[in-house]
């Protein structure tokens, strides 16, 4: 485990809290090249001992549409989960994805589609709306049940991890370079929380801009 110079107070407090947990805990921090915290980074933990099969029915996860945006912007789920796409706007949306992990289309709808969709392949699913081209969202389909997502402080805490050797990696929609290049191998022990920090480079995602350009009536 690497020591982190200048560890923020919040980060230290998270580690202290984690010390009481019965299983292993990982606290990940992700910053950019400028040292600023990065939000919406998915942190995935893969134990070398293997991944247990899911017990019980798959949970139903939610990706909302609010104010013509996907909420949350990044949604990590475990493979085999169902996802519902409630439209909480007063307008119709037309949600789709071309991603190999889950290509689908939910033509014009309001409210919540009758059936949630099954995400049965690990990978990244990029979401779009065919009416509002600026709407972009991501579902990260993880092969393991141990994952987290960084908050505004760039921190993600993952509890109840299996003790032993684990491979930990991070992913962000704008990350430069492959996800595999971020893998760290770490030995996790009970009551011995581990802190890891990544510094990753991002490139902005362009897509369609929502802000108006006078003279361009846009979609309406």
């Amino acid at each position: 485990m690497r020591s982190i110079p200048g560890m923020p107070i919040v980060f230290t407090m998270l580690l202290a809290t984690a010390a009481a947990a019965p299983a292993a805990t990982l606290v990940a921090k992700v910053v950019g090249k400028d040292g600023k915290a990065i939000q919406n980074v998915v942190v995935v933990v893969v134990p070398e001992a293997g991944i247990p099969n899911r017990a019980g029915p798959p949970p139903i996860e939610l990706v909302d549409q609010v104010d013509k945006e996907f909420t949350p912007y990044v949604k990590p789920i475990r493979v085999g989960s169902l996802v519902a796409f409630p439209n909480k706007d007063n307008v119709q949306h037309h949600v789709y994805s071309f991603s190999p992990a889950k290509a689908f289309e939910l033509p014009l709808y309001k409210g919540t589609p009758a059936q949630p969709l099954l995400f049965d392949k690990p990978g990244v699913v990029r979401l779009g709306c065919n009416i509002h081209d600026w709407m972009i969202g991501y579902i990260y389909v993880s092969e393991t049940p141990w994952f987290g997502k960084t908050d505004q402080a760039g921190l993600a805490r993952i509890d109840k991890l299996p003790v032993g050797r684990n491979h930990v990696r991070v992913w962000h929609p704008w990350m430069i370079g492959p996800e595999e290049a971020t893998v760290r191998i770490v030995d996790l022990a009970e009551a011995q929380p581990v802190a890891l920090q990544w510094q990753i480079a991002l490139e902005p995602e362009f897509g369609s801009r929502r802000a108006p350009m006078p003279g361009d009536a846009g979609y309406r």
Binding site: Q92, H94, Y96, I131, D133, R209, A211, P212, Y219
Partner: protein
Amino acid sequence: MRPDAVIEPLSTSTVSVRIASIALLGSLLLWRSVATCADWGLDATTGLTRNDNLTNAFESRDLKADTAVTATVAGGVHQQLSTSTGLGVNLVAEGTQYSRYEGLDNLGAGARAQLRTKFGLGPEAPWAAFTARALHRDYRDDLRDGWDYNAGISVGKQLSDRWSVRGSLGYDAFVADRASARGVPGLSTAAYDIDGWTLGAQAAFRLTEADLLSGALSWRDGSVTAVTHPDLEVLEYSDAAVIDGTFSDSNRMIAYRTAAATRTASLTWSHALGRSTSVNLNYTYRSSRTDHGSGTYVSNIVSVVLGYSY
């Protein structure tokens, strides 16, 4: 009905009012039926614009430059008719106030409609739109009052995350409400009635997440109104002329209409200030060459506009 009642024929204006009322009521009912899932929106802009050749003059003595404050508001509804096609209808209001040439100050009110279709899924799917707009402009110089019509088709495609292109073909016409009684003998007085066809192309490039740079070229074939000091040579190749009340000061000036080919090149930098607001800096070079080869009008127009969309 009382036996002594007299049925009088409706006047033309009464019939027009009734037809308009029925059409309005029908439109409201239609929109009410779809409004439960319609997308209501408001777009507004305000800014400053500087034009160094308001008169469309080609002689330096006739050049008149001025700066204006501009504002526009468009509010309406967008309704998706199918998975690929949407219809937008907006009421539009515009205002322009010049610092010097008050005769050009005007308020406009009207409506705009757009039917837009996408050929496929995703932001990179090509699209086509038909747009029509009618705006009545009320100038301080009453002779300029009239209807401003635009209609056209445009097609576009986002080529990549950063590049997008579009092309357009449109027709515009300005029809003044009334003609002046003070004209030039032998010529029409409808000098402000102009129309033309415009072919345009535009490319836009995303510089950053927030910044968009776009360049546009257009070619217009039609009539233009220009203002000059009395000049017999000019009147030879115009088909309408009238004493102009806006630019006439100590010297009387004449507004005349002539056929011209207009080329326009513009560059716009647009910076997003958030999801709904942007600041936009535009430079436009406009050159109109008269069909008779008698002259070329060149204008340089600079504007800065704050745009808002809800």
